[in-house]
Symmetry: C2
Subunit: 199 residues, 2 copies
Amino acid sequence: MNYYPDSVINLIKQLAKLPGIGEKTAERLALHILRSSERDAQLLSHTIIELKKKVRFCARCFALSDNEFCRICSDPARDASLLCVVEQPADMVAIEKSGAFCGFYHILGGVLSSMDGIGPDSIRIAELIQNIRAGEVSEVIIATSTSLEGESTASYLGRLLSEFPVKVSRIASGVPMGGDLKYVDQVTLKRALETRHGF
Amino acid sequence: MNYYPDSVINLIKQLAKLPGIGEKTAERLALHILRSSERDAQLLSHTIIELKKKVRFCARCFALSDNEFCRICSDPARDASLLCVVEQPADMVAIEKSGAFCGFYHILGGVLSSMDGIGPDSIRIAELIQNIRAGEVSEVIIATSTSLEGESTASYLGRLLSEFPVKVSRIASGVPMGGDLKYVDQVTLKRALETRHGF
């Protein structure tokens, strides 16, 4: 590391803090930034600061937003009777990309995990209840992941929301589309058989 | 891309310009930067600007440097009679890491390539001659890469420097250490046989 000037080493150290970026990659990136135009480097530097300054949580769904309400929550064309509960902003983006959902979202900001000491008070369950109490929602779709924690969060929410006058559903899990049965793991196949449905 | 607020999209776009970073990785990095502390984001942003502001070429060897002369050129303990000619600053770093060289460097800043229209005037050959004419150097080690262009640059320099009162040598190429002969390509094996040496 001592073979580069300090300003290069400093940038390598900062870049190597990013996930999936080791020292070798950080070195390559730093040398690339050094070769790139003054303007490109300034843009990169500036957008990092802007990101931290501007982005906040949407006051309704807790998605990432530049304004009080995110793009989806400010869209009058969306169906206010459908509410999709997800773990993280990235999950919302994945569902949006599928184009299969036209309602609103609620981002929990995590999942229940007794191992990590994350109970119902640590994620946004109170805000979800408040949202449902407002009365516009008629169906809550629970789209937490199918990990152990995601599943147990889903079943906790299923029990909790059964006391409210809303339909509660869970996204289906099973064999991925285009998947070959012989390569699908046993747990997924078991679930696919258990939750089989008519045509 | 439209599912994130503008400031996130802007950073994703800038990060995706870096080599080896696609849109998916850029998205992951941007979300990581968003989650990281204010201080870390500022440090990253600041070091990028500092890099472009501070780093320049060493006035003697053309390595990257924060000052007029780089660390190596300012080191009085190094052997001024040895000069190692490399293509890029990263090659110098690789040789330094090997710990096998205690002289000075000369960085060409590229290789001759008729395909890309890079002739002797486009890389730092005049500066190399000037350095040799100064009279301190007694051996020039040509350590350009073993690519087609690196090899032809090496043989061009070999011919050119034969007119000067210095010894000119080329780093050896052959079977990598720890390498298994049956996995070594034919060109490398041929070279290893041709340049065989006594014990």
